[in-house]
């Protein structure tokens, strides 16, 4: 006999920083909350990020990943929210006003019925095949996250001589980490014309360790039948296609890929939650409510963030409103789409619920191309400018945040057809 179904108000899926913040916020509202985590320990990806640089905004301190996670976990434990580890959510059934989760755990199948769900399932890494690296298939090819886990959690060193593809912060941090463990890092290759990592990381992770950075360069193929023997690298043209005449043979035994993260949304898919094709995460309103009533989402499964502080912020919002939804019943939403104009790759949230009691919104965006000039971000509604913010420089890899405060929120006309966010270059007034 299977264990009987357990009834709760809010289930949080995933115990990374997003899920932990959501659980805490939900419990604070008085909702009966439970966190489900498939790994052996809570903390999500932070467990393996032993470098510092976490929590500058949330804690006004520079913490390591595990330290940041520890604080969040303690908070959840203090709020008496159970965190069930080794609990894999295999499927979700959407019932009338509830969700039935089927979970696999070493103590059997657990079935949990919840009024509201918070998806905080994080993301996965793009692999060598997804960036179409060809050649042989030997041992010695790792995604950066896997290499990081092997070193920082399992104490295993992936190789002796490594080439890194991708110069985002994760790639840079891994270059340093490998060097510290005695691995010869031959270089970091970046297909774009500049590193997408923080300037600080380029200094501290590459320059301080004499690791060369090659921009507009990519790995074209891998050589070696059993273990990596070498990789071929080549310069790329303006369309990012390798220029074969520049191809070089670099002997090495390890290739580390840091080529992007993809939000994990299998469960969202199974619930038919609409997905934004750009972010690859669910479309959400400003309280992180997806387009399926009762399903909330936060953190990296909505869009990939580079700052954990923002992830926690989205978790707090999602948790608070999931609890309200579960406890107070279902109010109708008045969803106004947030459209974007100009050089914006995306804006999250994609919707504003103008009838929500939450009268302010945190918004995040990324630009499509680098802008090295002063730019204005304008918030318009019904042909009227509600607000205008100024940014000095904008880079695609960097996620930016802005807030719609209560005053602006209240000035959104009701009913309103749309809210548009527009990026406008400011004409240089002098020089």
């Amino acid at each position: 006999m299977m264990k009987p179904i357990e009834y709760v108000d809010v289930v949080v899926l995933g115990s990374g920083p997003a899920g932990l913040a959501a659980a805490f916020a939900s419990a604070k509202q008085g909702a009966n909350t439970v966190v489900l985590e498939r790994q052996e320990r809570p903390g999500g990806i932070l467990k393996q990020c032993i470098h510092d640089g976490f929590g500058n905004l949330r804690y006004n301190e520079t913490l390591t990943g595990p330290e940041y996670a520890y604080r969040e976990i303690q908070q959840v434990i203090a709020a008496l929210v159970p965190i069930r580890t080794n609990c894999f959510v295999a499927s979700v059934e959407h019932g009338e006003h509830h969700f039935l989760l089927n979970c696999i755990s070493p103590s059997g199948i657990e079935r949990i019925s919840a009024r509201a769900l918070v998806l905080a399932t994080g993301c996965r890494e793009r692999t060598d095949r997804q960036v179409f690296i060809h050649g042989d298939r030997p041992a010695g090819i790792f995604t950066a996250g896997l290499a990081q886990r092997l070193i920082n959690i399992d104490g295993l060193i992936p190789g002796n001589r490594a080439v890194i593809l991708g110069s985002g912060d994760i790639g840079l941090i891994m270059a340093r980490r490998l060097s510290i463990e005695g691995v010869q890092v031959e270089g970091v290759h970046e297909i774009r014309h500049e590193s997408s990592g923080l300037k600080r990381n380029i200094q501290q992770c590459l320059e301080d360790f004499d690791i060369p950075l090659y921009v507009q360069s990519t790995v074209t193929s891998v050589v070696g039948s059993q273990r990596v023997k070498a990789v071929h690298v080549a310069a790329v043209d303006v369309k990012n296609m390798p220029i074969m005449s520049t191809e070089q043979y670099i002997p090495c035994d390890t290739l580390i890929l840091s080529v992007g993260l993809i939000p994990e949304n299998e469960l969202a898919h199974s619930l038919d939650v609409p997905i934004d094709p750009v972010t690859k995460g669910p479309v959400v309103d400003h309280v992180m409510h997806t387009m399926v009533d009762g399903v909330f989402a936060c953190g990296n499964c909505v869009h990939v963030s580079d700052l954990v502080d923002y992830v926690s912020e989205s978790g707090s919002i999602a948790g608070k409103h999931a609890a309200a939804w579960a406890l107070d019943g279902c109010a109708d939403r008045t969803l106004v789409p947030v459209s974007r104009a100009g050089n914006l790759a995306y804006v999250v949230p994609q919707m504003i619920d103008t009838s929500s009691p939450q009268r302010s919104a945190s918004c995040y965006f990324r630009v499509r191309h680098t802008i090295e000039r002063t730019t204005q971000l304008r918030i318009n509604s019904e042909g009227q400018q509600l607000d205008c913010l100024t940014f000095d420089e904008l880079y695609p890899p960097q996620m930016e945040r802005f807030a719609i405060n209560e005053t602006i929120f209240s000035s959104i006309k009701q009913p309103s057809a749309d809210i548009s966010i527009e990026l406008v270059l400011v004409e240089a007034s002098h020089d």
Binding site: I104, P106, I109, R129, A139, L156, P158, S221
Partner: protein, 574 residues
């Protein structure tokens, strides 16, 4: 009737100048000389195959293409020294393992030797997994004969082996309205090949069956008997079934030579010792001509046709119901079926294969141009796109110049049977080929030994437990028996720790990460091992009592990690 040498010489000179030297040793035709490219060499072979000889020996050299030698396992011991077997099978692909299982029905001492650390590492794990209907094979060929028979045998066989089997059927789309006129011709061919069923589908019927099909279709030809299996699971299961019935299976064991006396193989040399066998079966896939040469019986040559395939995310399979392709004007002159969309037994959409003549017998390098060739198949279904690709790989088909199978006793060596040139549909044909080969072996064996069927032969192999395919109730019960069935290791494919452990302690245990992958599907999902590799290393090391640093991806020298911090500072590097 074979064409005369003068006639051949004049045809070949017209095509290739005087570069080639032609002879007719035995009943074969042999080409020597030199040509500029491998493609030209292969084409010369095809031309020679039309002259009516038994087979083509193609010894044309091509600049920059070296004759390859078999890479023998570095493992050395003496466990086979002085042992005698009634039958020795060379090669642990789907052909060798099928034959081993068939022969295990008899009271004979059988050994199968495979040079890799696992069975099914080469062509048998690098294909579409299709059990073809038999329509595509040229009527009258061994391919046609064995394919249709094999198609009938696979369903009950899969059930005995405890592996999955699905029969989605195959739809050949017509690319223009005129092709409908070909229906009677197609039906006639299907009839001649004795294919089990065929139907004409109108444009509307196709849309009803495949809602996302391209608008460029004009109806199609449907073959309901086309089926799919997991080719690597099948090969492992066949091997295990043979082992359960007493066959000896030796992996990491390479045949390095024969001792021949009086036209008979007397001894087999391997890296594990020298043994003897009364009958030898050459089922060595892409090396079959080299093995034939070791037996002084190289009456044919193989050429190697590489095929690349890609696998799409599990999600994509909900948009496709049948195996589907759009052959260009029926590919009359093509050597292959042209590829298309396949639904794998395990639930992915597979696109491919390509076909390219390439000299590497075991070179599985892929290139961007392969992906471009696969693009056209994506357009057959409006929901499929290249960004759903989670992986791609390539396999090599061992082909004779006659483009047909060779199945039969050697003309020159009294105790050798060749099963060579087993290109597609070799997987589909395997059970039928094995049944015929078993008969040949029995006939030979009867001449020197008392031979009887085993009374206690066990047809059934217990199916592996695949928890993701079970009901929640059944999973719950299993977890109560062993909680590690409730510990999910691979999030993409929902594989539990216990399934990995089972693979490491099965009849033919996995010894590498790739072998675990073929048996359990860890690493086969969309994250491609990003999440589970570390867990798998840990479990393999624990279960095999080895250091985490010694866990390999695929056989010797493929260690995944190079150092272990838990060792002391001085020997951290393994």
């Amino acid at each position: 009737m074979a064409t005369s040498l003068e006639k051949i010489q004049s045809v070949m000179t017209k095509k290739y100048g005087s570069a080639l030297e032609i002879s007719t040793p035995g009943s074969s035709i042999r080409l020597e000389g030199s040509l500029d490219t491998y493609q030209m060499k292969v084409e010369a072979g095809w031309t020679a195959a039309r002259f009516g000889y038994k087979a083509v020996i193609n010894d044309i050299t091509v600049p920059d293409v070296q004759e390859e030698t078999i890479a023998c396992s570095s493992y050395v011991d003496n466990v086979l020294e002085r042992l005698h077997f009634d039958v020795a099978i060379i090669g642990g692909g789907v052909i060798g393992t099928s034959i081993a299982r068939e022969l295990s029905k008899w009271n004979m001492k059988i050994i199968l030797i495979e040079k890799e650390e696992d069975v099914g590492v080469h062509t048998s794990s690098r294909n579409d997994g299709m059990i073809h209907d038999g329509f595509a094979a040229k009527p009258g060929t061994l391919k046609a004969l064995y394919n249709v028979r094999g198609n009938r045998l696979w369903e009950p066989l899969a059930s005995d082996l405890g592996i999955g089997f699905k029969r989605p059927g195959s739809l050949l789309l017509f690319s223009n309205p005129a092709m409908k006129a070909l229906y009677p011709l197609m039906a006639d061919r299907a009839k001649r090949n004795e294919v089990d069923g065929w139907e004409f589908w109108s444009r509307e019927r196709v849309i009803a069956e495949e809602p996302y099909v391209t608008s460029k279709q004009h109806g199609g030809f449907f073959l309901p008997s086309a089926a799919v299996i997991s080719p690597y699971k099948a090969t492992v299961a066949l091997a295990e079934s043979a082992m359960l019935n007493g066959a000896k299976l030796m992996t990491s064991t390479c045949l390095t030579g024969f001792e021949i006396e009086h036209n008979t193989i007397r001894r087999l040399h391997t890296n594990r010792g020298i043994c003897t066998a009364s009958i030898v079966i050459n089922a060595s896939g892409n090396w079959a001509d080299i093995i034939a040469e070791m037996a002084h019986d190289r009456f044919f040559s193989l050429h190697h046709r590489r095929g690349t395939e890609c696998i799409l995310d599990m999600e994509s399979s909900r948009w496709q119901q049948h195996i589907m392709s759009m052959p260009s004007i029926l590919q009359v002159r093509e050597k292959t079926k042209g590829g298309g969309i396949v639904l794998t037994e395990e639930g992915n959409v597979l696109i491919g294969p390509t076909a390219e003549e390439h000299p590497g017998r075991e070179q599985y390098t892929t290139s961007p141009s392969d992906m471009i060739k696969l693009k056209k198949h994506f357009t057959l279904n409006s929901k499929l796109s290249m960004d759903q690709i989670i992986t791609y790989f390539c396999g090599v088909r061992p082909c004779t110049y006659e483009e047909d199978f060779i199945v039969g006793p050697s003309d020159n060596i009294s105790n050798l049977i060749h099963v060579a040139g087993i290109q597609s549909p070799g997987l589909a044909s395997a059970p039928a080929i094995a049944a015929d080969v078993a008969e040949m072996v029995i006939a030979k064996a009867k001449t020197f030994m008392e031979i009887q069927p085993k009374a206690n032969w066990i047809p059934k192999r217990t199916a592996d437990i695949i928890t993701r395919r079970l009901s929640l109730e059944a999973r719950d019960e299993l977890i109560r028996l062993d909680p590690s069935y409730g510990k999910i290791i691979c999030r993409c494919e929902q594989v539990s720790e216990k399934e990995v452990v089972n693979a490491l302690h099965s009849t033919l245990p996995a010894t590498s990460l790739d072998a675990v992958k073929r048996r359990t599907r860890v690493q086969m999902g969309r994250c491609h091992g990003g999440f589970c590799t570390a867990r798998c290393i840990d479990i393999i090391a624990r279960e095999l009592h080895i250091d985490a640093c010694d866990v390999v991806k695929k056989g010797p020298d493929s260690q995944i990690c190079k150092g272990n911090m838990s060792h002391d500072e001085t020997n951290r590097i393994c």
